[in-house]
């Protein structure tokens, strides 16, 4: 047998520059992630909008029991006001619940399942039933547009996909940030929609919209950085001059009276 020396084979390594491989993989995976997230969010969105309110209530039943809820003598009055406002929304599929939350920051939330969270701070800061009614009606507006669920579907999609790609825990910070960013434009649109719905309910109840727009006028100066007592509410419900002028224009266009007698709050609000 003849012996012929040969070199070690050089065909065992794929000839690709590592940086090119990195760029290809990162770009490809990023693109796939974005498309997948959008697809999941879109699908969830459709599902959430079609979700019957009764199912929604069952699905999220008990989820809010660990909220920092307080016994507040104003609770009954707030429940009554919500129920009365909802009477002017004939298609209302929800049975609303009201939670008073132990926070000094004025704020209100629309929570899945038909729960409206109101902080103690908000109840302390309102000066007329008209003002409180507008905040509550605005939250009811979020239910009418199913905003509370649609926000969830985006967060859920981002959490699921990013969590899978980054391997869970390491992605939480990023996930939070991405879902906040994706909510931004979305949120503004929803706030405007809820404002219009809320103002409509207020007008139906009181026959004028005084107090509701007065609520905005309390702000010392929206541009000054501090937004006074109502700071927190406007942090989650970003205020802009456009939002206020939109409401004024809406009232004008519909021929709603901008002035009228303010209704005093329930006596429980004055008991101290």
């Amino acid at each position: 047998m003849d012996w012929e020396p040969r070199d070690f084979p050089e065909n065992n390594v794929t000839d690709v520059h590592p940086l090119k491989e990195l760029v290809t993989l990162v770009a490809g995976i990023a693109a796939a992630t974005i498309i997948l997230t959008l697809a999941i969010a879109f699908t969830l969105d459709i599902g959430m909008r079609a979700l019957p309110a009764a199912w929604e209530a069952r699905l999220f039943d008990g989820l809010w029991s660990d909220l920092d809820e307080v016994d507040d003598e104003r609770h009954a009055a707030a429940v009554r006001l919500v129920d009365e406002l909802a009477l002017d929304w004939p298609e209302n599929p929800y049975t609303f619940q009201v939670f008073i939350l132990d926070s000094p920051d004025p704020n209100a939330f629309a929570l899945p399942g038909g729960a409206i969270g109101v902080t103690r701070g908000l109840l302390d800061s309102v000066e007329s039933e008209n003002e409180l009614a507008f905040v509550l009606a605005h939250e009811i507006g979020h239910f009418s547009g199913r905003h509370h669920l649609r926000g969830i579907s985006r967060t859920l999609a981002v959490t699921v996909v990013l969590g899978a790609v980054t391997g869970g825990a390491s992605g939480t910070m990023l996930t939070q940030w991405v879902s906040e960013v994706t909510q931004l434009g979305f949120a503004r649109e929803h706030e405007e929609e809820a404002d219009r719905f809320g103002l409509d309910l207020v007008e139906k109840r009181f026959g004028h919209v005084n107090g509701a727009t007065g609520f905005f006028q309390k702000l010392p100066d929206a541009n000054a950085g501090t937004v006074g007592r109502l700071g927190a509410w406007f942090a989650t419900h970003p205020v802009s001059p456009k939002r206020i002028s939109d409401l004024r224009r809406l009232a004008r266009d519909r021929g709603w009276r901008a002035s009228g007698e303010l209704t005093p709050l329930d006596p429980s609000f004055y008991a101290e």
Partner: protein, 158 residues
């Protein structure tokens, strides 16, 4: 703290490790390959075959076991690339060069041992691979891979 800054602080060390792994890993790999090719040229004259028996014409007079082993670990950059690959499938090119180096280094060590002991050839070459479990993360993951090359070094008579 600004969330963007927080993310930068989280991502920063990762990017550093990635860059560190890439630069050092590339330099090490380049110098290793040039060393391998030089030594392969030097040991080229020693025949290595994978037949179980030497050809009868070799008239083997004596034989002994020779072996060469290497343990390789992977740099951060290659590991990250392989991690991305694992998501989509396909050839893990970043591992290929690493294992290629390890195989050739193991065979070289074996051949160098045979030459140093005055043998003429190696028959029945075998390659074995085993995974070394990592001591961290509950023994999951891979600390490295051992590649063992062994065979029978023979002296040719007449």
């Amino acid at each position: 703290m600004d969330p963007l800054l927080q993310i930068a602080l989280q991502v920063g060390p990762f990017l550093f490790l990635l860059l560190f792994g890439f630069i050092i890993g590339t330099l090490v790999e380049r110098s290793h390959y040039s060393d391998i090719r030089k030594r392969e040229a030097k040991t080229r004259t020693l025949p290595v075959i994978s037949f179980r028996r030497a050809p009868p014409s070799w008239q083997v007079s004596s034989g002994t076991l020779v072996s060469g082993s290497t343990v390789v670990s992977i740099d951060y950059f290659k590991r990250f690339l392989a991690g991305l690959r694992a998501l989509v499938g396909g050839r893990i090119a970043s591992y290929e060069s690493l294992l290629d180096r390890a195989r050739r280094e193991a065979v070289l060590r074996m051949k160098e041992q045979a030459i140093a002991s005055g043998y003429d050839a190696v028959v029945n070459l075998r390659l074995e691979t085993s995974r070394l479990a990592s001591s961290n993360r509950k023994g999951q993951g891979t600390a490295g891979v051992e590649i063992l090359a062994f065979g029978t070094a023979v002296k040719r008579g007449a």
